[in-house]
Amino acid sequence: MSAPIYSLKIGGQAGQGIKSSGQLIAKVASRSGYHIHTYTEFPSLIRGGHNITQVLFSPDEIAAPLRQTDLLIALNQDTITRHLAELVSGSGLLFDADKKFRTAGAAPGVRLLPVPLAKLSGGQELLINTVAVGAALALLGGRLDTLNDLLRAEFADKGDAVIRPNLEAAAAGFDFAARNFAAQVEPRLTPLPDRPRQMIVNGAEAVALGAIAGGLQFAAIYPMSPISGILRVLAQYQAEYGYIYKQPEDEISAVNMAVGAGFAGARAMTATSGGGFCLMTEGYGLAGMTETPVVIVEGMRPGPATGLPTWSAQSDLQFILHAHQGDFPRIVLAASDIRDAFYLTRQAFNLAAKYQTPVVVIIDKDLCDDDHSYPVFDNSDFKLDRGKFTSDFNPGFARYYIESDGISTRSAPGTGNFFIANSDEHNQQGFSSEDISDVVSQQAKRLRKLDTCAQTDMPAPQLIGPPDAPLTLVSWGSNRGAVLHALRDFPDVNYLHLTWMSPFPTTAVTSQLSRARHIIDIESNATAQLAQLIAAQTGITITDHLLKFDGRPFFPDEISAKINSVLHPA
């Protein structure tokens, strides 16, 4: 049985430091030996609007955000109005005693915890959130010195003039809560002994670190939610690790720059969201046609058009699988968690080099933005694969030589080898060709790479739970966490999680689903895009779907309710 998960939520206006307060609490929890998981909701605004950050912590791993709230910290009335209903008997509501917030309507047994945040901050708006964090920490039995260490580190470059008031604000909140609510202190953040230190990373950071680990040499990324976090990390460490990050003029440029770098022999990537990927589609196929390695990270958010820029979705799968005219091999992998974001991105660089074709890693907004605890990554086991590559001069070099596995030997400019990487259909040297035998043999050769990849590199999909079950769930991407959390209560139900979308594990999926008694497809889109793929690949039509497309993640209780409705129909 897993240890309970504590859920703290802090809400206020954009600009009130909601996200950074959540991060501080998460870091204190992590340093005290707890696993953390954060979930943030914010509008596409810099100031104003409603922001919340949820911080979950537990001695055990946490798979997904939950709807429960054990402690709500409200920096404005809006937070109370919107989230009061989440509080149940025993939950706490910490709010500014100096402001006339309305708390009427709280469920019986909800503990009201008024703290004079404004007064304790000495009238300094920017310190209010620090006071609140200090007070929450006292209520949860956490250690003020851990928070103080973090504040010192956070503001180290701003100097004492910023550090001291922050320390004072934290202490003021902490002392007030310790004195006034002594009887209500719970040991939720009491340091746990002998816990290994964990990283706190979000998916965007994990992708960036995975890219650096995978041997990234050139990245061109145009800013867009939710992938801007990737370029922030890549830009920061480029000189130190000897790669280049470039902000291009648009996504068309981004992908073409990456293709040019791939042609040069560099390990290259770009990243974008759906709208930017629309602009990249021509370059995507160019990489396929010229057999140039390139990694593309696609962070999904709800569309179409600008859609919901700061919310999450899984609605780009079919687009990524079909974007661009004509046929070309594309490797498409969907990440579900921090582990995938790091290790799949790293692997994508090897796959791109080996199969000389674009590799897309799909992530989503929630995965990009939410912080998670994770054991410190390890890159010492990684074997960099350059694939079939030669820098030896060969006067008769045939870049697009017909090979049975579909993979010709690549070379690069500067080696003396002559070839043309040609957007037009071409012969084995790359000269433009409309000759039937070139057209057919080159097209077939390119597509064979996908079969080779399926046979050599594609693992079987993961089936979690008993092989025979009354009910089988199928899903992908970051829904995995909520499904796994829900399944704690349903040990008989099994779950087929899919990561490889192209090539597709047709045989394994067919055999698993053909023996399933009832299948529920769970997706964050309106048209069951994974189920469409499964039907196309296996001929199995799934008729029961749990689809959510409001920009919010699945919460485990929604999945449990669906499972119950099937297992125990009313």
Binding site: E205, E249, V259, V376, N379, L384, P413, S423
Partner: protein, 284 residues
């Protein structure tokens, strides 16, 4: 190196008399004179009649997408800046489909050489109006006359920050070849707008028209003053189309701003990074 070293199995398929033949000839003789071969040089082209040049020139190359030669060449150059990277593009390719890339390349000053085969027409798609076609120009897409004012590639390049801006003429092979060499010797972005008669679809900008109306800038013109260069670039008319270097100034190249490639090109760095524990610890 000899001209024959640059020959491929493909023979040029441009229309007889096309200016592209002359641009190709001028470039090949520059290659022979300067020793540009596949160990030190790479070519990138867009899509259009101009792009066919790659098939006839035995130098390692990339024929990209219509309009996208410049970003592709930029990625190549940043990854291996020891290579001479030449971009062959068209007026449609560079200034219409790829206009955004062109101005941003100019402001960044990478050491790329951009040769615009400027025939003021879309050749490969059989004769539509291009961004450099004059007002009133009749073509398949503008049967009643072009309603758009033409773009001025030189003024645009100068305004956008290019550090070497010149105009050549495809009818003068030795002069064009010398200009290409000067462009290559320049450290930074070089734009050479090459007046290229399209004998099949552009009946206004013919060889005769250019022979009668162009003149060579001489020593009395100093190409170091930006405002003067901009003014000179406005000159266009009967007997008054200047050829030569309009603007050339020293400025650090884009590549030189990246300390990580000061000593070695990016592709020569090992991408193997087994120990990243220092980086990972920053996230603990």
């Amino acid at each position: 190196m000899q001209l024959s070293d640059l020959a491929t199995v493909c023979s040029p398929n441009w229309c007889p008399g096309c200016g592209d033949l002359a641009i190709w000839g001028a470039f090949k003789s520059a290659c022979v004179s300067e020793g540009w071969d596949s160990t030190n040089t790479a070519l990138v082209a867009g899509i259009g009649c101009h792009g066919h040049l790659l098939n006839f020139t035995k130098l390692v190359s990339f024929e990209g997408l219509h309009g996208r030669a410049i970003p592709l060449a930029f990625g190549l150059k940043m990854s291996n800046h020891r290579l001479n990277v030449f971009v062959f593009t068209g007026d449609g390719d560079c200034l219409s489909e790829g206009g955004n890339h062109f101005i941003h390349a100019c402001r960044r000053n990478p050491n790329l050489k951009i040769f615009i085969h400027d025939n003021a027409i879309y050749g490969l798609t059989t004769g539509q109006t291009s961004p450099t076609s004059p007002l009133g120009f009749k073509s398949k897409s503008t049967p009643e006359g072009n309603a758009d004012f033409p773009l001025n590639p030189l003024a645009l390049a100068i305004a956008s920050g290019a550090t070497f801006v010149a105009r050549g003429y495809a009818g003068d092979i030795p002069g064009l070849s010398a200009l290409m060499i000067k462009a290559q010797q320049h450290q930074g972005l070089a734009v050479v707008d090459i007046l290229q008669p399209c004998v099949t679809f552009n009946k206004e900008y013919t060889h005769t028209f250019y022979r009668e109306n162009t003149y060579q800038l001489d020593g009395s013109y100093q190409p170091t003053d930006k405002i003067a260069a901009f003014q000179k670039a406005q000159e266009w008319g009967l007997k008054s189309i200047p050829l030569g270097i309009f603007y050339a100034v020293d400025s650090p190249t884009y590549e030189s701003r990246f300390p990580q490639i000061a000593a070695t090109p990016l592709v020569d760095h090992s991408p193997d990074r087994p120990d990243l524990s220092g980086l990972f610890r920053k996230f603990v």
